[in-house]
């Protein structure tokens, strides 16, 4: 009898134990530098709130698959997930995300950059808070530009960029005028090419969801890109994505690189980059049509609808995307390492204005308009993507055609023809037409 009550007491104690302990939230994320820094600073959050954090870091495509599975089956494995600007509006419309509409005044939601806030909201309600935001811009080698006898304007045209790229190219010394993405994928070459096509006045769909790859504007875009890459691009460019081009640029092999603004802090970091002190920045080029070829993206934190720990999750998001967090990173790692592109106040901070790429990053972000991405009107939202669930699949197939054209396996016309056919076919199957 005594033993029994003792056992019961022990069991009760054991059951009470975890309840008295801190709550633990699970966060799914990717292995980007800013996220790694955030993981290192989690202790600050735990000290302030008593909430423990368990990180699950996944490869980007695995993350998307995991998160989609989990969220659509309401699996409840994650309390916070790192998602992008493409997923946010689609998932919010499916009621998969918890609305972030009751953030406290101290959070100052109006401080979030308007472009970011717009891209992460549906009907004016915020569904994901930007952890860091990016656009794309030109990063160029000031020394090579000078050697070519040219001066990069702040807002160059495609013709200037193409001319400069050809002049900077010195294949004998393995210097290539321009490094652009060629690796197939909706988030790889198609992110770049879709943004570029906007500046040439092209669009994915007309107002009735008809594919537009048979337009002159797309033909101009793709031909211009292929000619430029053949004349002034690195060999094997059809396999180059963000990381490959980053490596080339850091090795001093690219004259110009048009890619994510977040790369600016990598290429100017003397620890990894051999050209850290010779990098200049300019806005992505235009073709005189009033639109620039830059994109808009955010890595954002969102709460899936299935979570049991919504309150704690909200507290974490408030912490990780707050002004205080930016100041915390600055105090530990310097202003250049603060997650960029999320808050207006960051760009008003005189300390941050000293960072060489701050101004150009902000201007690039501000010049992208997801609701009005190209010259003609479109039925979709998104600069370098079309915010419909079918886009990732379609654009990856189109990306393969364009990548094959860059590899010399087919002509621009053939690639566009195939892209046109497959896009229309998929859209018809999905019931848009």
């Amino acid at each position: 009898m005594k033993l029994k009550s003792l056992l019961m007491g022990a069991t009760m104690l054991a059951c009470m134990g975890p309840a008295a302990l801190a709550e633990t939230i699970t966060i799914a994320t990717v292995n980007n530098g800013d996220m790694i820094r955030m993981q290192g600073l989690t202790d600050d959050f735990t000290a302030k709130t008593g909430i423990d954090v368990e990180w699950v870091t996944l490869e980007e495509n695995v993350l998307r698959q995991r998160v989609t599975t989990d969220i659509s089956t309401k699996g409840g494995q994650f309390d916070i997930m790192t998602i992008g600007m493409y997923e946010t509006p689609i998932w919010a419309k499916n009621d998969w995300l918890v609305a972030l509409n009751d953030l406290p005044d101290s959070y100052d939601v109006n401080d979030i950059l308007p472009a970011m806030r717009g891209g992460l909201s549906v009907d004016g309600t915020l569904y994901a808070a930007p952890f860091y935001g990016e656009s794309s811009m030109i990063m160029y080698r000031t020394d090579l530009m000078e050697k070519a006898g040219l001066t990069m304007p702040d807002a160059p045209t495609w013709d200037f960029v193409a001319d400069a790229a050809r002049k900077m190219t010195d294949k004998g010394n393995e210097i290539y005028g321009v490094c652009l993405r060629g690796k197939a994928g909706w988030g790889e070459n198609m992110a770049f090419l879709t943004a570029m096509s906007n500046s040439f006045g092209a669009r994915w769909f007309d107002m009735d969801w008809n594919a537009q790859f048979d337009s002159d504007a797309w033909k101009k875009t793709l031909t211009f890109y292929l000619d430029l890459m053949n004349d002034a691009g690195p060999p094997g460019a059809a396999n180059n994505g963000f990381n490959e081009n980053l490596a080339l640029f850091q090795q001093g092999k690219c004259g110009m690189w048009i890619d994510a603004t977040v790369a600016a802090s990598f290429v100017t970091n003397p620890k990894d980059s051999t050209v850290a002190d010779k990098v200049g920045f300019a806005l992505a080029p235009d073709a005189g049509l009033g639109k620039r070829g830059n994109w808009l993206w955010a890595w954002a934190l969102a709460i899936p609808a299935g979570t049991q720990k919504e309150e704690s999750a909200k507290k974490f998001i408030e912490w990780a995307t707050s002004k205080d967090y930016l100041a915390l990173v600055a105090s530990k790692e310097g202003w250049a390492n603060v997650p960029p592109g999320s808050r207006t106040s960051l760009y008003e901070n005189p300390e941050y204005q000293k960072v060489p790429f701050a101004k150009m990053t902000l201007e690039s972000i501000n010049s992208a308009d997801p609701t009005n991405p190209t010259v003609d009107p479109v039925p979709y939202i998104g600069v370098q993507f079309v915010a419909i669930p079918e886009f990732a699949g379609i654009a990856t197939q189109v990306g393969q055609e364009f990548s094959a054209a860059l590899a010399g396996q087919q002509t621009a016309e053939q690639a566009l023809e195939k892209a046109q056919a497959l896009t229309n076919e998929e859209m018809e199957a999905a019931g848009y037409k």
């Binding site: 699970t26 530098g33 993981q39 996944l58 695995v62 995991r66 599975t69 990381n243 090795q251 980059s273």
Partner: protein, 276 residues
């Protein structure tokens, strides 16, 4: 009369075998070397082979950021657990098919193998929903069951081929001497089949260790094995190849060492049924 193999021929074959072996092993060697480079060195072009400043910095960073031991322990439990349970199911099954074949035994064997031809992702949602229903998502129970089931056809097939090689007369002789079915399997069949069972066990531990679809999709924290550990070092925006290599080296080292010590059984396991 023994066939005379000329020294020249022998030398040629030895060199050719070593060359093929080295080519196949090269990516692993490269991962190992890269794990001792700095991130800048890791992407340098032309790549440096042996003459660079060796650093163990990456291992330090990986050790600091991830709980390696937890991932390792999970890998050990999942691969051993699924293989042992698989063997317990498969030995009687293979025994029945090898020694008391029915009319449809061949068809059953083929049917079992055909389940391997279904793309895994096709049953992802059903399995996720079942796991959620029973509340066993991210648990050893779920992962061991799933890994056991996907490897079961291979285990049964391997054991079946080994058992087929054992002369049925020996079993009959045991039966004549009055051995029960239980005695027959435990005292007669199993000792003779030990080499076969051992190579099946080894091969399946390796298959389960390397399995990267289910282990990534059905785990979060508690049951996440080394595949999840490697995946966490891949970066969409950032060059972390040296750290990724360090993580990969740490993940494959245990299984590589196990493979090294059990080469003989493995070769037999991998080439089963190849030469008859």
């Amino acid at each position: 009369m023994a066939r005379a193999v000329s020294t020249r021929k022998k030398t040629f074959y030895t060199i050719a075998a070593w060359a093929v072996g080295l080519i196949i092993f090269f990516p692993i060697l490269w991962i190992f070397l890269t794990s001792f480079k700095t991130e800048a060195e890791a992407i340098s072009d032309p790549p440096s082979f042996l003459f660079f400043d060796w650093t163990t910095e990456n291992y330090g960073v990986v050790q600091e950021r991830s709980n390696y031991v937890r991932f390792l322990w999970n890998s050990v439990i999942l691969s051993l657990g699924s293989t042992v349970i698989g063997l317990i199911v498969a030995v009687p099954a293979a025994w029945a098919m090898a020694f008391v074949p029915g009319k449809r035994t061949k068809d059953v064997l083929m049917w079992m193998l055909s389940t391997k031809m279904l793309p895994a992702v096709g049953v992802l949602y059903p399995i996720v929903l079942i796991a959620r229903y029973f509340g066993i998502y991210d648990s050893y129970l779920l992962l061991i069951t799933v890994l056991m089931l996907i490897n079961l056809p291979i285990i049964v097939w391997m054991l079946y081929t080994y058992f087929k090689e054992i002369p049925v007369d020996i079993l009959e002789a045991a039966r004549m001497d009055g051995a029960t079915l239980r005695d027959e399997i435990i005292h007669v069949l199993t000792p003779m089949a030990i080499p076969g069972i051992a190579s099946t066990l080894l091969l399946n531990v390796i298959l389960a260790w390397n399995e990267a679809f289910w282990t990534l999709n059905l785990t979060t924290v508690n049951a996440a094995p080394l595949t999840a550990f490697i995946a966490s070092y891949s970066s969409p925006e950032g060059l972390f190849y040296a750290k990724l290599s360090a993580a990969s080296t740490m993940a494959i080292a245990p299984i590589l060492i196990l493979g090294w010590f059990s080469q003989k059984q493995l070769v037999r396991g991998l080439t089963f049924g190849a030469v008859k």
